[in-house]
């Protein structure tokens, strides 16, 4: 875990050096269980920065979303670096960005923050109800100390941490220029038992589940927009020439949209779970992503977002790849 003063001092140092044009991190929100992501450009704003168990968003999502405005004639584009604060899971997005040449290593300054887990808004609301004031929460080894509506309580990790944290394999950033704070011990592992359980169901049962879930989708595209891996200039889902999916929110188009979204993350998803977090209809989107993550690992022994030198999964092959199902 990191002392926020260390974090702010480092941010100030980096911003005042003139080396970076922006720094992406978190600041206290105006209400509720989640901090707010923020972009700061000046050392004077650095005191806003925080890090605690409410910092759930993945700041790496914002690196590729920076709008590149037309550069007026005679001026040069600002090509200074972008600094970004990352947790373990967020750092994998940066690695995967590097694999996909979204930017080069020299374009980013990474402030790596070891993390003991972040809280799940939905779980917290069940326990504490709505929080009109910003919530403070600190994850410790044996539980989370949370301050809601002026009251401080300690709850167990299982009760309040996000699912991704309960199976976190990378609590420490896998890539970092400035590791801040002491590394934390890995406390969990991922056996994909949830996926294996679902795999056992019959096609009819599986479809019955998804039919209900996909029917709920209102096609707000929040899952796509928040995903650190979705940064195409124009997404095929909303493109008109050719039109891969219609915009109508019916079961057919919704299903196809979700398959397309999951497919485009095959071998790329770094399991930050942002898509599922932001879904207003509570669709278990990660169930699709995790199925692919599991298969990619089992079939191709591949894990995205851990090695910046790796080849992209679907832009490489092994002559000995599995031949299952091929006649």
């Amino acid at each position: 875990m990191v002392d926020e003063n260390v974090l702010r001092d480092k941010a100030k140092e980096i911003l005042s050096s003139g080396e970076v044009r922006r720094l992406i991190g978190w600041k206290r929100g105006t209400y509720g269980y989640e901090a707010a992501p923020c972009v700061i450009t000046d050392a004077s704003q650095a005191d806003d920065l925080i890090f605690d168990a409410t910092c759930v968003q993945n700041p790496a999502s914002f690196i590729t979303l920076e709008e590149k405005l037309p550069v007026p004639r005679g001026q040069q584009p600002d090509t200074r670096k972008i600094a970004v604060m990352v947790k373990g899971c967020d750092s994998r997005a940066v690695v995967q960005h590097l694999v996909e040449k979204a930017y080069i290593r020299d374009d980013v300054v990474i402030l790596g923050i070891p993390c003991r887990g972040v809280i799940d808004r939905r779980k917290a609301e069940k326990i504490f109800g709505e929080a009109p004031q910003p919530v403070l929460a600190v994850a410790e080894k044996d539980g989370v100390v949370i301050r809601v509506n002026g009251e401080e309580k300690k709850v167990s990790r299982e009760e309040i941490l996000a699912d991704k944290c309960l199976r976190c394999r990378y609590p420490n950033p896998v890539i970092s220029d400035y590791p801040l704070g002491d590394e934390v011990e890995k406390w969990a592992d991922d056996d994909f038992s949830d996926v294996s359980e679902f795999e056992k169901e019959s096609p009819e049962e599986k479809w019955a589940f998804w039919e209900e879930e996909f029917s709920k989708c209102i096609r707000c595209y929040a899952c796509r927009n928040v995903c650190p891996m979705c940064y195409c200039v124009e997404c095929i889902v909303t493109k008109l020439k050719p039109q891969w999916t219609r915009r109508s929110t019916d079961l057919s188009e919704n299903t196809v949209y979700h398959i397309q979204r999951a497919w485009h993350l095959a071998g790329r998803c770094i399991e930050c779970m942002e898509c599922q977090r932001v879904c207003p209809m509570d669709i278990p989107i990660m169930t699709l992503n995790r199925k692919l993550t599991k298969d990619v690992k089992e079939l191709f022994d591949y894990e995205p977002g851990v090695d910046a030198e790796a080849q992209p999964l679907l832009a490489s092959y092994n002559p000995q790849d599995p031949e299952e199902y091929i006649m």
Partner: protein, 143 residues
């Protein structure tokens, strides 16, 4: 499912091996089932796995992808990429509850007209068992 269900299957065949193999089945007058309708692509590596999803949505009951045997790709390695993509898409569709028998891939060389017939018979009988694909068929709009 009743036995008179005649599945509609779309086949994506690479120009150099499988399409030529299907042509050979023709020149050898090898009779096979008419359910598979073929779209010619230059290489199985051209087949975007989202074509499969699109075909199922448009009303196909099954999809066949066929290319050159590993190592024989006219474009050296396109079929290796196709194989990776196909296996993952197959798994994904299975997870969503699409009967895995609907989507199949085969290696058919230019000399394997007889194998092409077998492949067609296999997928047709599999899809017959799976029944009509109506899970997420697109509504036909008539305006």
């Amino acid at each position: 499912m009743s036995n008179d269900f005649e599945p509609n299957i779309i086949g994506f065949l690479c120009n150099w091996c499988s399409y030529a193999g299907a042509d050979l089945a023709g020149t050898s007058r090898t009779h096979y089932l008419p359910n598979v309708k073929i779209i010619r692509v230059m290489c199985s590596g051209r087949v975007n796995p989202l074509f499969i999803v699109n075909a199922l949505q448009q009303g196909a009951d099954g999809v066949l992808i066929s290319g050159c045997h590993p190592g024989d790709c006219h474009y050296l390695e396109g079929n290796y990429f196709a194989r990776r993509r196909f296996v993952l898409m197959h798994k994904l569709l299975e997870h969503v509850g699409v009967d895995p028998r609907r989507v199949q891939m085969s290696w058919v060389s230019a000399s394997e007209g007889a194998k092409f017939k077998d492949v067609v018979e296999k997928i047709v009988s599999d899809v017959k068992e799976a029944g009509p694909m109506d899970q997420f068929r697109r509504r036909q709009l008539n305006w």
